[in-house]
Amino acid sequence: MDGHDSMLQAFLAGDLESASARRFDEHLLECEVCWRAVREDRAGRLAAQALRRQAPLGLTDRVAFAVEVAASARPQGLPANAQSRLGWRLAGGGTVVLGVLVTMLVLLPGVRGTPHMPAAVQAVAHYAQALAPPAGPGRSQTGGRQTTPAEVGRPLYVTADGQRIVLRTWRLGDTEAVVAVSGRPFPMPSGATASSGGGMAWSARIGRLGLYCLNGRTSELVAAPVPAAELPLLAAQLPPN
């Protein structure tokens, strides 16, 4: 870079003091090379700035969720009553609104899970920790009258340790449940109970959450804060994904 370029860059960067900047302004009137360089610099800057796009709606929520999942990936496992930001969003007034379609991809190292808690199951469980418990003391309506399930919020797309998962939240009566669907079977966490009956692969309990995994053409994992005995009935009442 010669002195000419150096002066030009200083001018463009606004580094020249006023007297020098004025002199360079005058120089630009006479020097076609510098004038062109200034114009091209401006054109390139405007072109690059024209590419600026606001971050996608939901990216902040997605990032926050990913960090929360990472934060929960501690040796001691998931807290029984996670008080997460996501939880605040999801549980407010019992009306869950994630509000955005989010795609979460745990790419490189990211959340790997532990030998006891596979990352995919952990992500689902963490998400479901935010579900409101069934209204009323120690009761849910899954074993009672039939109600029409209503989807709450919008789907959350997750990839945990390479496993792509779609998470949907449903409300059935006063019970909320997360249904996670994946093209790959959800790995069975340690402590889970395997079963070969009725296509069920396994069930498990994490804190107040019951998990119920069904394997078929796709793998479905239902997570809800209900007694284990109610999970099969709850799963049967939720719409197929």
Binding site: M1, D5, L8, Q9, L12, A13, E32, R36, A37, R39, E40, D41, R42, A43, G44, R45, L46, A47, A48, Q49, A50, L51, R52, R53, Q54, A55, P56, L59, T60, R62, V63, A64, A66, V67, E68, A70, A71, A73, R74, P75, R85, T103, M104, L105, V106, L107, L108, P109, G110, V111, R112, T114
Partner: protein, 184 residues
């Protein structure tokens, strides 16, 4: 990265870093290659930043995150090149731009009038990486040249030189793509 051993309050981390999601996003859009989704890169940036938050001594959080984003993009590019090529996702961020403008002879005016964003993206992709990165940091994410120099670990003058060359090259490429300066 093993997040299992991370110390620190993730809420404190999120409070400190979430205001810069947009800046990281602007960087990620320009440095995500080989089918890497910029949103995934943003997330990976935050996961790495969270893992390193305990050793972050404060200072310029935005520049810190931008540096992590660049490193994550490079790591991912190396990883992908060592593996069989994955099917690239759709380029979701391509904006349906207005067609190439006509009439105005000055390229800057044409840019202001709204160039085809896809065309600009293609031209940006042809820039040398150091130039593209500087443009992404300064013109994209809004970092100052000094902040970009901090991110890249190089003198501010180097950033200014790369910026200038990159912008001029971008303007040339746009001209080659059919946008005329009019007057030489």
């Amino acid at each position: 990265m093993d997040v299992a051993g991370v110390d620190g309050d993730h809420r404190e981390f999120l409070d400190a870093t979430l205001p810069y999601v947009d800046a990281v996003w602007q960087v990620a859009r320009h440095v995500a290659h080989d089918g890497l989704d910029p949103e995934d890169l943003v997330q990976e940036t935050y996961l790495r930043a969270y893992a390193a938050f305990g050793s972050f001594r404060g200072g310029n959080t935005r520049a810190w995150l931008a540096a992590i984003c660049l490193n994550a993009a490079r790591s991912e590019a190396r990883r992908r090149r060592r593996r069989p090529m994955e099917v690239a996702g759709t380029l979701r961020d391509v904006v349906a731009g207005a067609g190439a403008s006509e009439g105005e002879p000055d390229v800057a005016d044409l840019v202001i009038a709204g160039l085809d964003a896809q065309q600009i993206s293609r031209c940006m992709a042809k820039l040398a990486e150091p130039q593209r990165v500087c443009i992404a940091l300064v013109d994209g994410a809004g970092l100052t040249a000094r902040e970009a120099a901090e991110v890249l670990g190089c003198p501010r003058g180097t950033v200014l030189a790369r910026l200038h060359r990159g912008r001029r090259r971008l303007a040339e490429l746009l001209t080659d793509a059919g946008v005329s300066h009019g007057r030489p």
